[in-house]
């Protein structure tokens, strides 16, 4: 199952060209949704104004080379390693979901455009990675949904309470869960069920990529910008008006960081 190409089986009833156009349409929806999201929330305007404010109170100027170094550090720590999260469980869940999603998307594009029919057999590791990516998203996503979400862990809401902020995570785990089940059903040769789960897979992925304006999908674009601006503000000395770190030794232990927030 893990090394069989699930996409090629679909070509019997959906032309490869239609699948490829679907992927392109989803890409356009993400780009368009992100642009509309930026306009609607005025994110670009906020970051620009914040940069001007920071510049007005800076203690020193940060050069181009230093900014490149800060950008590399931001990419390495805040983006690739999800350094923003102070809770290690959330960080691990986010890493699982993020890398699983990237692997799943890249391998889907490779399979749809490179190996859409049964006569073109992909290397075994491509469909294997497709399945692993889906499982990683499921592991990180369900862990977050049932155990880590602050709504559940700290606010005491039941796990089945759904609000708009859940649109992204739910459509994401639904997409990969239905994709994985559909692939398994194909392998088990259960035609009607496979068609049902393929339909659910297509529906949930359309919701995922088509609701960028209403979901938090665009966070993957503006969070790195926020992290970069924070690091530049630290380097410039403006620190967003925060006081400088105290000139004292670290000698008293972890304090509030000794335990995770779960006292509801």
């Amino acid at each position: 199952m893990f090394t069989s190409n699930p996409i090629s089986e679909v070509s019997a009833f959906i032309p490869p060209l239609a699948m490829q156009w679907y992927v392109i349409a989803m890409f356009i929806l993400v780009v368009g949704g992100t642009i509309l999201d930026t306009i609607h929330k005025k994110s670009a305007k906020y970051f620009f104004e914040n940069m001007q404010k920071s510049k007005a109170i800076r203690e020193r100027e940060v050069g181009g080379g230093e900014k490149i170094a800060i950008a590399i550090k931001t990419a390495a720590e805040d983006v690739l390693a999800s350094g923003e999260f102070c809770n290690p469980r959330r960080r691990l869940a986010h890493l699982l979901t993020m890398y699983g999603f990237i692997i799943f998307i890249v391998t889907t594009v490779v399979l749809v455009f490179g190996y859409p029919t049964p006569d073109r057999v992909p290397p075994g590791y491509v469909p294997f990675l497709w399945h692993v990516g889906a499982l990683m998203v499921c592991a990180g996503g369900y862990w977050f949904w049932f155990f880590i979400r602050v709504d559940v862990a700290a606010e005491g809401h039941p796990w089945y309470r759904i609000v708009r902020a859940d649109l992204f995570i739910l459509s994401l785990v639904a997409t990969t869960t239905f994709a994985f089940i559909w692939s398994g059903l194909q392998w088990g040769d259960t035609g009607a069920w496979a068609t049902l789960f393929f339909s659910l897979f297509a529906l949930s992925s359309t919701v995922l990529f088509g609701t960028v304006l209403w979901s938090k999908f665009a966070h993957m674009f503006f969070k790195p910008a926020a992290a970069f601006q924070r690091r530049v503000a630290d380097a410039e000395g403006s620190r967003d008006n925060l006081p400088p770190p105290a000139d004292k030794p670290e000698q008293f232990g972890l304090g509030i960081h000794r335990e995770l927030p779960r006292h509801y």
């Binding site: 906020y46 923003e84 999260f85 102070c86 809770n87 959330r90 602050v150 709504d151 862990a153 700290a154 606010e155 609000v163 708009r164 902020a165 938090k216 503006f222 926020a226 601006q229 924070r230 967003d240 008006n241 925060l242 006081p243 400088p244 770190p245 105290a246 000139d247 004292k248 030794p249 670290e250 000698q251 008293f252 232990g253 972890l254 304090g255 509030i256 960081h257 000794r258 927030p261 779960r262 006292h263 509801y264």
Partner: protein, 156 residues
């Protein structure tokens, strides 16, 4: 001065939700970031400000005495046992304050009052409290006001 959250700094960890004694720090149902749902009910203890590991929570001054342009920000450093405040006035003046929040490691030093020697009569009549002035970490000790300097009409 009630608190508010910078959404671009908040990572939605829930420390403020967990610690707020008024239960007014919640997670936004649209963006999954923290927010103060009822600033009018904030009793301004700043527990959320101090607990935030991202320094994402700030104090919003009342409009009558803290007009636009001011800033009150805090940095709590548990390991150093310090809390630092930066007050920025509307005219650009800046004041920094650093205060100790503990003099002993967290969760290890539990006071055993029963084992202390009984206080003498002088101790009981003193203006100093138990453990003072040593626990205040002030080398010169606390200033003591002579009773004859008190305003007329105040009797002890």
């Amino acid at each position: 001065m009630p608190t508010f959250v910078y959404m671009t700094r908040c990572d939605g960890c829930g420390n403020c939700v967990d610690i707020c004694p008024s239960d007014i720090m919640h997670i936004d149902p649209t963006y999954r970031r923290a927010l103060n749902i009822e600033p009018n009910m904030c009793w301004e203890c700043y527990s959320c400000v101090k607990a935030c590991p991202q320094n994402a929570i700030d104090c919003r001054g009342y409009a009558d005495f803290a007009p636009l342009g001011h800033s009150v920000r805090v940095r709590r450093e548990e390991e150093k046992g310090t809390i630092s405040w930066r007050i920025k006035f509307r005219d650009g003046r800046v004041k920094d304050f650093v205060s100790p929040i503990t003099t002993q490691p967290w969760g290890e030093k539990i006071p055993r009052l029963a084992e202390l020697p009984d206080p003498s009569e002088d101790d009981l009549n003193s203006q100093l409290l138990c453990y003072e002035p040593d626990a205040l970490n002030i080398e010169s000790g606390l200033p003591v006001i002579s009773k004859d300097k008190f305003k007329q009409g105040v009797y002890y």
